[in-house]
Symmetry: C2
């Protein structure tokens, strides 16, 4: 399969994406409609994402737990907006142990309801607050049009659910978790994101306010890469989550929820990848470095293998893969690991052994500029520095790309033309209504990705209604 | 709740168990029949179990992946013994996205079938073998009589699935994983286990041979605490998992599967716990150490809190909890953390601050023998040594308990009497048939836990049939 050419991004971005996911063995189609199998290479990437996030969650006082997969159907119906949002997407268990169930069980599409039920049982006093729980799990949403990682019937994520004594605390938590997502995206995945508030049309079903991190993909479309919701007292009223305050009076809690999913793997692919395949940020890459031994005969092989083992030991602080295969050529291996996005490659042949050097090849810079002859002496510190350089370069390149493809427009005509001929993010003053947003979406397929949390820019005229406003919106076509 | 007395183990072991699980906040009943919520303290214990196992899996070349939750019903029917074993326990999704499904989807009770399907797609050549994949996930088996951690409709586990070129390799893998489970149980959980082969009656539905680690609980019953299955070519024939060998001929693969679940938390509770509550092995305990500050007035509080902070920093290499609560007494805290099984407690009052000492209290030894006055100087190394001592003591105590409660019998009369009056494990020579095993089970509720893999003991007469044999069996009543 790897011998066929990968479609280029410009000729067919969607097919380029699918082919990378399959060829790099990140995921595969499951025999169940809309489901995926996350293969070991993809799961190792997810495990690194999990570690980076979990550490941040625990540093901010969160703990993990596990709530059931099945939710009684009646639970979903307790929060009106929530059930409306999720009803069309449910998978329902109607048979258990060979018998028809009295009450059908929904396979969780998200867990606000069942967690709300448990919190109402656990929380009694202000001394029990805040409750800061996260869960790593699988959820199911019946999707009609699916795409590996981006939209599948079953997917993997974490969902955090917290309960607080006041609305202010809940809002602070919501924003703190948004910040953690942004910090993770930028400093671990080298993905620049815009933090912002979702419009009423795009917010989570049941939320008071939803926040998002939005990233720009290589085809200029936006991808919502993580969300954090202030649920107000909607779920605490629906599930009677109350605490007695210092004066012994019963008060409703204020709750939040926040999630980041395997979808983020799609973000990484589409932000960094190029026509040769995947490019993984060093901090998350399952292998940070691949070593390819080069030899022509048994004598050379012995000498080279010995040197490779020594160098592998020298680099034990990194995640290193040695490609020992003998049934494929070095050239095949170079292409293969480039396609799989390993950030750094070491080539080692008999001449390198003799001169006590190695050839280092950066995945993020093609041609001779990305190729270095380096002494074996002190190799670990050179590798360390180079991995940091790659991480920084990927981030800066993505920032530049986003900036180059973010446009400002003053009128709706301008908006449509920019969207049609340039694409990307369109930054505007916005004073429209939800209905205006619907009309724009219908006509252009662009939606409000968010109202960014950046410092205010001052007043201006709404590109659509002409009204004066200080609200900024970012529009884009999105995944 | 904690103020009520915990039932003692001798008066009601089952209720003692349930109360510990609930009071220590390890788990709670879910609003869905037979399901549980694993609370943060229980999940932290599970995370430590996961880390200890996952490290061992990876050191032996295994990688993690994720296969779908849903399995087409027809898949299960491809392996005859498998479908017979699991059919009565299935949860079935019949509705997706508001519509009746053409083919119902089973919520995985275990994943041999869907993984078999994927392996048949991925494995082509002998160069693709072995495939060594593990998955951490949730599975569902519709259980009628449930008990927290021990038997719930949904539970959490890892399931490893490997494919090999030869039967010998598959058998070696099966035994390697059994060994890893035993090593984990004994060296991390301080739980002595007997490694053995399951009888035909007790083996996994679809396996050629099942191996088990069996542990003795505090009420003398056995608990199967992890299993490793040699699946022969049963699943590779059912799912057509084949590879072309060196001569380019198609051969069936030989597969294995092995799993250890949240049930193991039940093992830990029932092996180590006492009438005061849980006792956690230091290597797995979410908190290895709790610090309880003691003071009577604000002045003392200031002094003590300052010292506690210094000591907490001194012990940063351990998992430490400081109980800062001010609305409960130190005595309440002592009982509370004893009940929650924290291996070591530090008490620190104004006099200790003055004398530069702390009081260390071991959870595993009651009374004055478990209490030590220790200098704050060099405390970390004392704590380290003491945690190792506790770990070793728990293991030795459990070994001694099992030995004291393992009996040998020569006749069936003796067997029944021993079972009735003593309980525990009964070690016998065994030459009976599966039908004999059924009869014994019916009459005594005891089953063959395993044929232990110990070195041979020589010939003897079967206690049931009188035939001479060198096969040893361990019978017990089991969970």
């Amino acid at each position: 399969m790897s011998s066929d050419r990968l479609p280029s991004r410009s000729e067919n971005f969607a097919e380029w994406y699918n082919q990378i996911v399959l060829r790099a063995e990140l995921a595969d189609y499951a025999p169940v409609r809309g489901c995926m199998v996350v293969r070991p290479y993809g799961w190792a990437l997810w495990e690194n994402i999990q570690k980076a996030l979990d550490r941040r969650f625990k540093e901010t006082g969160h703990v993990n737990a596990a709530f059931p997969l099945f939710i009684p159907k009646s639970f979903l119906e307790k929060e009106k907006a929530h059930v409306e949002g999720f009803s069309p997407e449910l998978a329902v268990v109607t048979i258990g142990g060979g018998e028809e169930l009295e009450e059908p069980l929904v396979v969780r599409p998200t867990s606000e309801t069942i967690i709300g039920h448990m919190y109402s049982k656990w929380i009694k006093s202000h001394r029990d607050l805040p409750v800061l729980i996260n869960m790593w799990n699988n959820v199911v949403r019946w999707e009609l049009r699916t795409k590996l990682f981006l939209r599948t019937t079953e997917f993997y994520w974490q969902e955090g659910h917290t309960a607080h004594a006041t609305h202010e605390e809940a809002e602070a938590e919501t924003l703190q978790m948004l910040d953690i997502y942004a910090d993770f995206a930028e400093n671990e995945a080298a993905v620049p994101v815009i933090q912002g508030l979702k419009s009423e049309r795009e917010k989570f079903a049941g939320a008071l306010r939803s926040y998002t991190i939005e990233a720009m993909m290589g085809d200029l479309r936006a991808l919502q890469s993580g969300t954090s919701h202030n649920l107000g007292d909607n779920f605490s009223r629906a599930f009677n989550i109350r605490y007695s305050d210092q004066n012994n009076e019963l008060q409703y809690c204020w709750t939040t929820s926040w999630g980041l999913s395997t979808r983020f793997i799609g973000t990484i692919i589409m932000v960094h990848g190029d026509d040769q395949g995947l490019i993984l940020p060093p901090r998350l890459a399952p292998y940070q470095l691949v070593i390819v031994p080069i030899f022509r005969n048994e004598e050379q092989k012995t000498v080279v293998f010995e040197a490779v083992k020594r160098i592998e030991a020298q680099l034990s602080e990194f995640r290193v893969k040695v490609d020992w295969r003998e049934d494929v050529t070095p050239g095949f291996k170079f292409n293969d690991w480039e396609m799989r996005g390993v950030p750094l490659r070491i080539e080692l042949g008999p001449r390198d052994v003799e001169s006590q050097q190695v050839v280092l090849v950066r995945r993020d810079i093609s041609g001779s500029e990305g190729k270095f002859q380096v002494s074996q002496d002190g190799l670990a510190s050179v590798v360390e520095k180079m991995l940091i350089d790659i991480q920084n370069h990927l981030f800066k390149r993505a920032v530049r790309f986003r900036e180059e493809n973010t446009h400002r427009v003053e009128t709706y005509e301008d908006f449509k033309e920019t969207l049609e001929h340039k694409g990307g993010f369109i930054r505007v003053h916005w004073a429209g209504t939800s209905e205006d947003e619907d009309l724009i979406k219908e006509e252009t397929r662009a939606t409000i990705r968010c109202f960014p949390l950046d410092p205010p820019e001052g007043h201006g005229c709404c590109f659509y209604t002409g009204e004066e406003t200080d609200r900024i919106a970012i529009f884009a076509r999105a995944y």
